[in-house]
């Protein structure tokens, strides 16, 4: 393994939204070109493409992107890993450079979503099980995970709702968020109840989107004179879910996150107190509360208070999801894990405009793919 570091030298995302008349490769190609432009490079400079997409995982999306922007014959790997798909593609790109195989690699995450509830799934018997053996939609699974926190720490419906108030507020400063609308607490709490305690405004929005990053070896970045805006990957970690006693009925998003966080902090040789911002997987408002503790941003049982005291707001001690998060920016599954790399990189470069976290030097991205996978990256800004 190369002891040299790997850098993000180009990154971008399209504004998330609904694009029913465009194709998945078309959306991916747009972000790929934007990231290449950000790096000041072209597709002919890339030695490999790692492409993350979930719903067309068998459809060679990466190759179809190259068919739009340049068929250079490079290695293409298509990745699927539930909602950790984008982070997995990014990490595979990072690994290929770390392994010394390539110097310049493109990672793309892209997704086109349908409308409606995710989850459920088929059954082997001849009758549907939803609403018969409990609920298995994503809002329900994450409601149950949130209620476990309520059970253990007394977390309230109102506290969960405040996560959505915060993230929707943040999105009003992010022109690339799918929604940029303030949602006062009463509006969040009185919105249609999907699965208690998650109302509609506490569920991530199913939108289309794409994001891409150009990764580069330290040697090559120096050679190209690109170090000035280069963001260092201080840690890249992927975990699966360690055994837990309630696994079979309760997908566990906590253990894999805790495992990944401890490995990431060790790899980066920093602690949570050193982070300046975090983009974490707020697929539902309940999830954000869990991950404050899972990522060590506060002590056990202190997540509700961390939020109540404003520490995770823009301007707070450790701003979380200043992009608007999945709740408001949107959650195109395969794109999410690279879109959060874009967000953190933008802050570390000081380019985040009205939502800039002042003086940000170290940031973390976190995603969860239910089933489960956890991807964490720690990034360090230039200079």
């Amino acid at each position: 393994m190369s002891s040299d570091d790997v850098y993000v030298i180009g990154v971008d995302m399209i504004k998330f939204g609904r694009f029913p008349h465009r194709s998945v490769p078309d959306l991916g190609a747009e972000a790929a070109l934007m990231a290449l432009d950000d790096a000041g490079l072209g597709i002919k400079d890339m030695q490999a493409l790692y492409c993350g997409n979930l719903y067309q995982a068998n459809a060679m999306v990466g190759q179809r992107i190259l068919q739009q922007i340049g068929q250079t014959g490079i290695a293409v790997v298509n990745c699927a890993n539930a909602c950790a798909t984008g982070a997995t593609a990014f990490r595979e790109a990072w690994m290929s450079i770390k392994a010394g195989v390539y110097d310049l690699v493109l990672a793309v995450g892209v997704e086109q979503m349908g409308k409606g509830l995710l989850g459920g799934g088929g059954s082997r018997t001849g009758i549907p099980r939803e609403g018969l053996l409990g609920g298995s939609t994503m809002p329900t699974v994450f409601a149950e995970a949130g209620m476990e926190h309520a059970r253990n720490h007394g977390t309230s419906f109102e506290q969960f709702a405040r996560v959505a108030v915060k993230n929707h507020h943040h999105s009003t400063f992010n022109p690339k968020a799918a929604y940029q609308v303030e949602t006062p607490l009463e509006e969040v709490m009185n919105a249609e109840m999907i699965s208690y305690p998650n109302t509609k405004l506490m569920c991530s929005v199913n939108v289309d989107g794409s994001a891409a990053a150009v990764l580069c070896s330290e040697r090559k970045a120096k050679e190209l004179g690109l170090m000035k805006r280069a963001v260092k990957v201080r840690a890249s970690v992927l975990t699966s879910d360690p055994w837990q006693e309630r696994d079979l009925v309760m997908p566990d998003v906590n253990s894999c996150t805790r495992l990944a966080a401890s490995q990431a902090y060790e790899q980066a040789a920093i602690g949570p107190e050193d982070l300046d911002l975090v983009e974490l997987h707020d697929c539902f408002a309940t999830a954000e509360i869990l991950h404050y503790e899972n990522l060590g941003l506060c002590g056990e049982g202190e997540a509700g208070r961390l939020l109540d005291e404003g520490h995770t707001k823009l301007g707070g001690r450790i701003p979380v999801n200043v992009s608007g998060g999945l709740l408001s920016k949107g959650h195109p599954l395969g794109a999410t894990g690279i879109a959060n790399i874009y967000e953190v990189t933008t802050h570390l470069r000081g380019d985040a405009g009205k939502r800039q976290v002042a003086g940000a030097r170290l940031g973390m991205t976190h995603v969860i793919g239910l089933g489960s996978a956890c991807g964490i990256h720690i990034l360090e800004g230039p200079g």
Binding site: L133, T140, F157
Partner: protein
């Protein structure tokens, strides 16, 4: 269309309907580490031991671990309902509908005792007209 069977089919493989006697839920327990799994299996994913599984009968009493109150579901599914996760006495955790209770957080308490009951699968039938037996939770351990 084939003819319907005489008795209901089990909704999941680990629901056992004996020829004579009451239905029950079946699990596997690892002799090496004690981990419990629903249904039958050969390898323990906790300790990775092979061929250490013994079949066990799950209890029909337990306590409420966590829940959600589902207000929006897929088309055709009756809402609201309480999706409940129950730790069974003696080991094993299962998920199902908590019935016979107001679907309101003020009426539901973590740790409340529940009983597992076996009832028809809410009238749901497969395309061959077969009916199914499912399991549900009711509060307190008293089936009305």
């Amino acid at each position: 269309m084939s003819s319907a069977q005489t008795g209901p089919l089990p909704v999941v493989d680990h629901l056992v309907i004996p020829e004579d006697g009451a239905p029950y839920l079946e699990a596997s327990k690892c002799r090496a580490c004690g981990a419990v799994y629903l249904g039958r299996r050969d390898v323990c994913s906790r300790c990775a031991e092979r061929d250490q599984m013994e079949t066990m009968r799950l209890a029909d009493t337990g306590t409420l671990y966590s829940y959600a109150i589902v207000h929006r579901s897929f088309p055709g599914v009756d809402v609201p309902f309480v999706s409940a996760i129950v730790d069974l006495d003696g080991g094993g955790t299962i998920k199902g509908n908590l019935m016979d209770i107001e679907p309101n957080p003020d009426h539901i308490e973590f740790g409340m005792p529940v009983k597992v009951v076996f009832r028809d699968a809410l009238g749901r039938k497969d395309k061959d007209g077969n009916s199914y037996l499912s399991y549900f939770f009711v509060p307190g351990g008293d089936e009305p």
